[in-house]
Symmetry: C2
Subunit: 231 residues, 2 copies
């Protein structure tokens, strides 16, 4: 087994709360973890599932969404390299409130909850680190609430593109690295797919966005930002 498959040596850990674990704790995690490969479109877990562990994203992106009573999915968060999914459910000892589906091919480390829960009780540094991450998620969620209820669909779509660029980057040609379908973008923004398509078309016509195949790229970031702010 290569040394990079040991959590102690995993660079990704630096980005999440596992960095606050001791050598011994990491050894336990590493010994009990299972590496999983998930293909684009496959589910990692579903709303209502009892999670017996958490998933640490090694590669790829997952959408965390919740089905509303009218049958539409609302994407609440996009989790990428370094993020830990399922923590909330394990901590609350509740079943998952969100579904996780792979947006592209993914590599995950599945860590059984026992070792996590054990550290939560014994290592305050780790617990505090998890708490800090959750505090950050909560602030982001509050921001999303304000945006969805106070901004127009056009503003939110403009904002979504800025978000995709700053969080997932773009290639040398200026296309967003994270490729989402129009439906997924609509589900992030909380609007109908057709409305989303219409506005993206409008942005293309106005020279704010460009597209090539299913890839989308930002041409005029400043104008998009202004739009998102309501100018």
């Amino acid at each position: 087994m290569g040394s990079e498959s040991r959590c102690e040596n995993c660079i990704i850990r630096q980005f999440n709360s596992l960095r606050a674990m001791s050598k011994e704790e990491l050894k336990k995690v590493s010994d009990s973890k299972v590496v999983k490969k998930v293909k684009k479109g496959e589910a990692i877990f579903e709303e209502g599932d009892k999670l017996n562990g958490v998933f640490c994203v090694r590669d790829g992106v997952s959408k965390l969404s919740k089905l509303s009573s009218n049958g539409k999915d609302q994407i609440v968060k996009l989790a990428s390299k370094g993020e830990v999914m399922g923590q909330r459910s394990v901590i609350s000892e509740e079943s998952a409130n969100l579904s996780a589906v792979a947006v592209n091919d993914m590599q995950l480390c599945y860590i059984p909850k026992e070792v996590i829960v054990d550290s939560l009780h014994k290592n305050p540094d780790f617990t505090l680190e998890v708490l800090r991450h959750m505090a950050n998620d909560l602030r982001e969620a509050d921001d999303v609430i304000v945006n969805i209820s106070q901004k127009t669909v056009k503003q939110r779509i403009a904002e979504a593109f800025i978000y995709l660029k700053t969080n997932f980057g773009e290639d040398k040609e200026g296309y967003l690295l994270l490729v989402l379908s129009r439906e997924d973008i609509a589900n992030v923004v909380g609007t109908a797919t057709e409305s989303c398509i219409r506005i993206i078309s409008e942005f293309k016509k106005k020279g704010l966005l460009k597209s090539s195949g299913k890839r989308l790229g930002i041409i005029d970031e400043k104008k998009l930002r202004d739009l998102a702010e309501g100018f």
Copy 2:
């Protein structure tokens, strides 16, 4: 000083994360805390303030809201007896992302952050308890996101009344104990005040709600629930 003014004896503590504190920790908290009285409409802290402590609600209700770029307030949470406000900012070492304003006359205990931060580093039981509360807030925030983006204003207002009844109760005459202005209800739901008033009027005409002065009461809870679910 009456013994009920000592945190060790405070019943309210049973509802929040302070219950996981040791006797000694509570003694420290009690010695450093300051009781504050805030009148209806007064601000406790504002978005952007640096918080040097947290506020434990002893009595009354506070609205936690965020100003959007279009100048409207979005109420993200209503905090009542037992809840601790400002935790998130203290944990993240960031300035407040929300404003807190008293909805009615309030009594608060202000606890300097040092004693909280100290316990967060030393007492994993306490940290875990705070984490559990925050995990719960996060789940609630996710639910709000889905509701706001997928339900109609009418559904959300129906839901808001169910929420107000289950969380704050009603008097013997069947009026909600927590009295909110139509504007506040609109800001909880994320809609224009006029739209909110219109729908409340409609609900009154249909015999779902009743009003007397500024008090509002639920007449037909079942129909309200059905409405909220989209029937």
